[in-house]
Symmetry: C2
Subunit: 189 residues, 2 copies
DNA sequence: AGGATTCTAGAATCCACATTCTAATACTGG
DNA sequence: CCAGTATTAGAATGTGGATTCTAGAATCCT
């Protein structure tokens, strides 16, 4: 059934991720992408209807992978593990981490494709649900504090290292742990 | 001497800041800026040699103002005040805060003008010096921990609110305070 | 082999923006 | 009033980059 493909969706997304890691998502022009793959631009459009759709796909894949471990840790009632998931994931997936944590969605995907709206909402709800479920199980715990301790603080701890292109050192885990313990009384987390 | 100016540098920078606050720095096109001011694009170029120079100016002004209070607090040996400077400044300068905290310099100014290189370095050194001087005065305090507590954590605390276009609520001050105390033993801060 | 189908190729088109250019204006000092 | 100058005015130019279009190639099925 048809000529064999030289460039799969995965190839293209992988190349886009590489370029992003090196020079930021703004550098992912269709021409640059084609050049890196040795492909004509036409082939890119054969797989992805538009640049936005391509980058949106890349974004969603990343969020899905990143979020899974976080949500599981919270479901297992381990807030500290959830908080430490961020630095650990940054170490195991440096390129993806740079994409997700150093840029806002809107800065990567100019306008989010309608088609993927529900997908994005689903992921977002998955996250907020995990947080509010956890909070519901721990009556003394303010949801805002929980989000701060498990999401915002780890993000902050890791950010300056990602910016510098470094892998976050082990010391950030200690900083996060100390902060978590201070914010979430052990009886609750 | 010469025709009176209708559009000063300050007018232009103010308009740029407005547009940024509403739609992000990417929306600050020379055309959009001209439209908002009711000016011809020629007048913009009469004041600023290029778009990058204009945005770089906006950025530097913002950093200078923001950083002053922070550095002063550290010089006064008050790490908590330094940490709380961020949420407070976000409340008093919401538009500027959005510009500085929601975007990286490189995302605002495509390539930083040579002319302003020294200026930027000066500001950066001012910040790192303030931090290392403080750390030097408190032998038990790890510089990395200090930066985390006074820079990264406040940034993280404020970020989700800036993203939502809200003014950071007072509760973030409490979160920051708790975290600071946990990270910096009171004997040192 | 012939037709259908799925891709590769890459040139051509289009558009948004930064930047430049040429005139026209409104002041000042003499 | 005239020359000089800083500035407004806005049209014209140029470029980077997304998208589209037209061909040509490689495979499968019958």
């Amino acid at each position: 059934m048809g000529r064999p493909a030289k460039f799969t969706r995965e190839d293209i997304l992988a190349a886009a991720l590489e370029i992003t890691a090196e020079s930021g998502p703004g550098a992912v022009t269709m021409a640059a992408l084609a050049a890196r793959l040795g492909a004509p631009t036409g082939s890119l459009y054969h797989r992805f209807a538009s640049r936005d759709l391509l980058l949106a796909d890349l974004w969603i894949h990343g969020v899905r992978r990143f979020q899974r471990g976080f949500v599981e840790a919270l479901a297992a009632d381990d807030a500290l593990a959830a908080a430490l998931h961020t630095p650990r994931w940054c170490r195991s997936h440096p390129a993806r981490a740079r994409l997700l944590l150093l840029h806002r969605r809107q800065d990567v995907v100019a306008d989010w494709p309608e088609r993927l709206g529900p997908e994005a909402e689903l992921l977002e709800r998955e996250l907020t649900d995990a947080l509010s479920d956890f909070a519901a199980r721990h009556p003394g715990l303010d949801p805002e504090t929980l989000a701060f301790a498990t999401v915002d603080v780890p993000y902050a701890a890791v950010r300056r290292h990602l910016l510098a292109g470094r892998r976050p050192p082990e010391t950030v885990d200690e900083l996060i742990t100390t902060t978590c313990h201070a914010l979430i009384p052990p009886s609750q987390g």
